[in-house]
């Protein structure tokens, strides 16, 4: 059995070598991880570790973070839009106004980076129960609440959103590759913590 296994192994190695020689993959079976997008061809990014996809200067962390933040901000902006007609708390109304404006600006900056990354601006997280994201179902429930009930639900959703935004932005600062994306992540983390601290 041992001898047979050894023989089998030897044959396997020989076959593998033959396969590789026959052109199965490039560079000894460890193909380049560089993505074949046009932006990548124009401007090669930093080498990606062990085959992670890149698009220009953007790695998969950058792209995943941009798409997720856009999806989260889209939902959060919808929620913020409900405040004037639903809230009974002047503090909440006052807090929400500049935040809504700031997030609209943040979304513009996120989308610009996504365009530069050459990734289509579609929401891959639509309908998903992403941590910290206001889901369609939650939005539907909050929409039907008024006054104090609305404010309680609104503040809970905002806390979750801001905590998650800060957490993911912090990871992106180290996991990301594109300097502008990492810089934006630093800004997102800082503003998320600031708004969180000022929540009524």
């Amino acid at each position: 059995m041992t001898a047979a296994t050894a023989a089998l192994r030897a044959v396997s190695v020989a076959v593998l070598a033959a396969l590789l020689a026959a052109g199965c993959g490039e560079g000894g079976g460890k193909p380049s991880g560089e993505a074949r997008s046009t932006s990548s061809a124009r401007r090669p990014g930093p080498p990606a570790p062990s085959g992670q996809a890149t698009s220009g200067t953007f790695n998969s962390s950058d792209i995943g973070w941009l798409q997720l933040m856009i999806a989260m901000d889209d939902q959060a902006v919808l929620l913020l839009g409900l405040v004037p007609g639903h809230s009974a708390d002047a503090g909440v109304v006052k807090w929400a106004q500049p935040v809504a404006a700031a997030w609209r600006g943040e979304r513009v900056r996120l989308r610009k980076l996504l365009v530069r990354a050459g990734v289509p601006d579609t929401n891959p997280h639509e309908g998903h129960d992403m941590p910290g994201m206001v889901t369609g179902g939650e939005l539907h429930t909050i929409k039907r609440a008024k006054g104090a009930a609305f404010d309680a639900l609104f503040l809970a959703a905002m806390r979750e959103h801001l905590d998650q935004a800060a957490r993911i932005a912090r990871s992106e600062r180290s996991a990301g590759a594109d300097p502008a994306a990492r810089k934006l992540a630093a800004g997102v983390e800082e503003t998320a913590r600031t708004w969180r601290a000022r929540l009524p």
Partner: protein
């Protein structure tokens, strides 16, 4: 039939694994069914078009079984809101995933980490990671108790099967569409069915299974590789499905088709079920290949290229 070590009684294994097709062939003798249907994976009703042009019938009673196949059985290991393909380095960014196989998988997982990990798979040489959105019944997590990952030649012509190359180490594949919009959405390749109950029509969304049944999910991964990239910015475009029994010129390298078959210990009213990604038609699967190159190459040579049905040990 198989040189499987005696510690795995072959009969019990076969019976345990193939309870589904066993019903289809209820009238056929036990031995015959072991020899001929072996393969839920090769069931003609699953993907009729896949075997267009194939000359052999998978239900032929002749031995050896002419099905290009080897398997890994990889039980559930853990749950995390992580996704090392879509959100690498961003722990907690994802919807909830259920992981199978490599027990070290998290947001920071790369090939080196997988190689250092341990596995729930039989065979234990398979250090790959497999994951899907978590299934919930009435908001409570349900993990599949049947977790079989088939590697198949089907989907391309027999002469193309003979040229199938091993899946390269480090390759990431995502199958299915997490943002499919409904059962009419052609981008959804989800398939839900009922174990032992073929009379319940399969659907892209959850189905209502009888009380003595289990909810099953089948998912076929793309089997044509562009020959260059282990991943792509959208995590899909480096792979493609075959067209007309062969791989398209853009993705010329035929590799084994991964078929994920999960069996969940739930049945009844499907309105109770949700996935972390939404409705049933959003079912998707992720695969990060960490098979040792020699073990993968041996199986492709001995099982796939020559169209022979192998077990977890990679032997006929």
């Amino acid at each position: 039939m198989s040189p499987t070590p005696p510690r795995f009684p072959p009969l019990r294994r076969v019976l345990g694994r193939w309870r589904g097709p066993g019903v289809v062939l209820a009238a056929v003798g036990l031995i015959l069914s072991m020899l001929s249907t072996g393969s839920a994976s090769a069931r003609a009703d699953l993907r009729v078009t896949d075997r267009a042009g194939a000359t052999s019938s998978p239900r032929s009673a002749q031995a050896p079984v002419r099905v290009a196949e080897f398997v890994a059985e990889c039980p559930f290991t853990h749950r995390l809101p992580d996704d090392p393909i879509v959100f690498p380095g961003l722990p907690g960014a994802s919807h909830m995933h259920s992981f199978f196989g490599n027990d070290a998988t998290d947001a920071h997982t790369d090939l080196a980490a997988l190689k250092r990990g341990r596995t729930s798979c039989s065979p234990t040489v398979d250090l790959s990671s497999y994951w899907t959105p978590t299934l919930y019944a009435n908001g409570k997590e349900v993990e599949p108790t049947g977790t079989t990952f088939y590697y198949l030649g089907e989907g391309v012509r027999d002469d193309v099967i003979a040229t199938i190359k091993p899946l390269p180490q480090g390759l990431r594949i995502v199958a299915g569409n997490a943002k499919a919009t409904g059962v009419g959405d052609p981008t959804s390749i989800a398939r839900w069915s009922c174990l032992h109950h073929g009379e319940v029509n399969p659907s892209k969304d959850f189905v209502n299974c009888p009380s003595d049944s289990m909810l099953e999910s089948y998912l076929d991964f793309p089997q044509c590789w562009n020959g260059k990239d282990l991943d792509s910015p959208d995590h899909k475009s480096h792979m493609a499905y075959p067209v007309g029994g062969q791989c398209p010129a853009t993705h010329p390298v035929a590799v084994p088709k991964l078929r994920q078959v999960l069996r969940y210990p739930v049945n009844g009213d499907p309105a109770r079920f949700t996935l972390a990604s939404g409705a049933g038609y959003t079912m998707h699967g992720d695969f990060f290949n960490a098979w040792p190159e020699d073990e993968m190459a041996r199986r492709v040579r001995d099982c796939i290229n020559v169209i022979v049905k192998c077990g977890a040990d990679g032997h006929p």
